[in-house]
């Protein structure tokens, strides 16, 4: 399976787009070596703004640039990109629907070594709560490339969370990315699994295991968390026995909440695989940490069996 690092793909794509479109500018708060905006800085030093270690000012400065016609990409780790400048995103960016793109890098617990302070597990909940914000989570490098391009074409605020580590390609090169549209990665008939990000791959592995046991999983990549295509979710959950959501995010306010709300009033069993209401911590590897918090294919298999029982 081909592996790609989404933040490298993001950095390269921003350079490609910067070459095509002079309006694109990038701002970073001393994390450009991690977020990979240093690639943009190397190519377009005059359109890169180092903002020091100050995320609030960075977001509002991006607003000023955007209000003068720039397409401003604000970059930091997910936890800092949405946590520190929450009110700036709310007031400066979203009330006025300003054309600022917030990139939350090293999302979820993908920054395994740095511990709870650096692990953004509630970014989607926070961003979903703000009116006028579009919230995206790419499944792999292929989708990251398309998503960043679509974010430029989309006039208005966009939040994209980007994982830190290499992840396998699971989406098709020919599949179009459209904001709001979930995509079926694997067909199945017993249970629908809604997932986003790296967890889609884990769901695919779970689907392989369950197939051997005679259980058929439909795996859906919900890479747009907001606006959520309610009709599509209802349809994809409408012809199966149960629904499972999987996300590298707290169980509060993310995909589990969003899907549960869409399915309200329907007598369909649901289970959720997510980080329970707790903070992360350091670990020596990403997979070790995922396992600790129950974000594995084994956990998904268990959840499917539980929801069918």
């Amino acid at each position: 399976m081909n592996m790609q690092n989404c933040r490298v793909v993001y950095g390269e794509t921003l350079v490609e787009l910067g070459r095509e479109n002079e309006r694109i500018v990038a701002l970073d708060a001393d994390l450009s070596k991690s977020t990979m905006t240093r690639l943009f800085e190397q190519q377009f030093p005059e359109r890169y703004f180092e903002m020091g270690i100050g995320e609030q000012n960075m977001v509002s400065t991006a607003v000023g640039l955007a209000l003068c016609g720039k397409i401003a990409f604000v970059n930091s780790f997910a936890v800092f990109a949405v946590g520190r400048p929450y009110d700036q995103i709310r007031v400066s960016v979203c009330i006025g629907k300003v054309n600022v793109k917030i990139i939350g890098s090293s999302c979820g617990i993908s920054d395994f070594g740095d511990g709870a302070t650096h692990q953004g597990i509630e970014d989607i909940a926070i961003m979903r709560a703000i009116p006028n914000m579009t919230v995206l989570s790419p499944v792999d490098g292929i989708e990251t490339r398309k998503m960043v391009r679509v974010a430029v074409e989309h006039e208005g605020p966009v939040y994209i969370r980007i994982p830190r580590n290499e992840v396998p390609d699971v989406s098709g090169e020919n599949q179009q990315f459209i904001i709001g549209k979930p995509s079926v990665i694997r067909q199945g008939s017993d249970v629908t699994v809604f997932a986003h990000g790296y967890m889609v791959y884990k769901a695919l592995k779970a689907a392989d295991t369950l197939q051997e046991q005679g259980i058929s999983l439909r795996v859906v990549n919900v890479s747009t968390l907001k606006p959520l295509d309610e009709q599509a979710i209802k349809e994809l959950a409408g012809d199966v026995k149960a629904v499972v959501t999987v996300e590298e995010h707290t169980i509060i306010g993310g995909l589990a909440s969003a899907v549960a709300y869409v399915m309200r009033g329907r007598a369909i069993p649901m289970e959720a695989v997510a980080i329970q209401d707790c903070f992360g911590q350091s670990a020596l590897s990403y997979e070790e940490l995922l396992e600790h918090y129950g974000l594995t294919d084994t956990a998904i298999v268990k959840a499917v069996k539980k929801v069918l029982a």
Binding site: G52, Q56, N57, T61, G64, L67, D87, Q88, S92, I95
Partner: protein, 278 residues
């Protein structure tokens, strides 16, 4: 002297008209930001009616000078100025805070022409102004970005983040004006949370600092002209002002930061300016 005596008299009259509009927008028996709106009336009058290059018929003109009220709660002054410049009909000024109005409690760019950004959550406007100034440099445009701050507001840490951006990127197309009216919502700054010394702080942060009487039309106009000559540095004009300036019963009083005028007080205030609005 950069402005004629005639022009000074004209701008003084405009400032009184703005104060009239502020008093009428707030009305009697309802709370409104009288204090911080009146303290910047002279500054706003000089900017919109003398200094700034702008076109009310074309609010999005890319080459316009831009004014941001970082202290967004003083928007009443800006609303009055925009209406009197012709950005929207003056009759709209009677709709403050009504459901669906363009005159929101704090300024909203998508609702009112001439409002450059959404401000009012304090501390954010100077950063937005920095972004606009950076864009001006990038696009090789010669517009100036003006930003009005409050002396209470600058307790917000983001202001100092922005001050470093302005100095680091040598934003000499950015002019900030500190409305030093000495009073925040709950009392005098020096007693509640002292943000002094102002000039020294901004100098230390790399700004060119001027200090003026913020109610002297002549000094305001002179300082704005001097700011044009400063190269390689942003300019901070520390404007010494009086909270609720021009409305004697409210001057210097924290109660009128967001106070309620009685019917009698409102009538007294209206009488002060009514001759200017004939």
């Amino acid at each position: 002297m950069s402005v004629s005596a005639e022009k000074i008299a004209e701008l003084e009259k405009i400032a009184r008209k703005l104060r009239h509009d502020i008093v009428m927008m707030i009305g009697a028996g309802k709370p409104g930001h009288l204090g911080g709106s009146c303290s910047i009336a002279d500054i706003i009058a000089v900017l919109y009616f003398h200094k700034m290059r702008h076109d009310p018929k074309n609010p999005k003109w890319p080459d316009r000078d831009r004014l941001l009220l970082s202290k967004g709660h003083a928007a009443l002054t800006q609303y009055a100025a925009l209406a009197r410049c012709g950005y929207f009909p003056e009759k709209e000024l009677t709709t403050l805070k009504e459901l669906g109005t363009m005159l929101q409690g704090h300024p909203e760019m998508l609702r009112m022409p001439g409002i450059e950004a959404n401000t009012g959550s304090l501390g954010q406007g100077l950063s937005v102004a920095c972004g606009m100034a950076l864009a001006g440099k990038l696009d090789k445009k010669d517009y100036t970005v003006y930003c009005v701050l409050g002396d209470g507001e600058i307790a917000e840490g983001q202001i100092w983040e922005a001050s470093m951006t302005a100095a680091f990127y040598k934003l000499d197309n950015l002019v900030a004006i500190l409305d030093k009216n000495l009073v925040q919502a709950t009392g005098p700054i020096v007693e509640r949370y002292d943000t002094n010394p102002h000039g020294e702080k901004w100098k230390a942060f790399g700004w060119h600092v001027l200090e003026i009487d913020g109610h002297s039309i002549e000094q305001i106009a002179d300082a704005l002209d001097k700011a044009d000559e400063v190269k390689g540095q942003p300019v901070m004009i520390v404007a010494n002002t009086v909270k609720s300036k021009g409305v004697p019963f409210a001057e210097g009083k924290a109660e009128f930061h967001h106070g309620i005028m009685t019917q009698e007080q409102h009538e007294t205030a209206r009488q002060l300016f009514k001759d200017d609005c004939k």
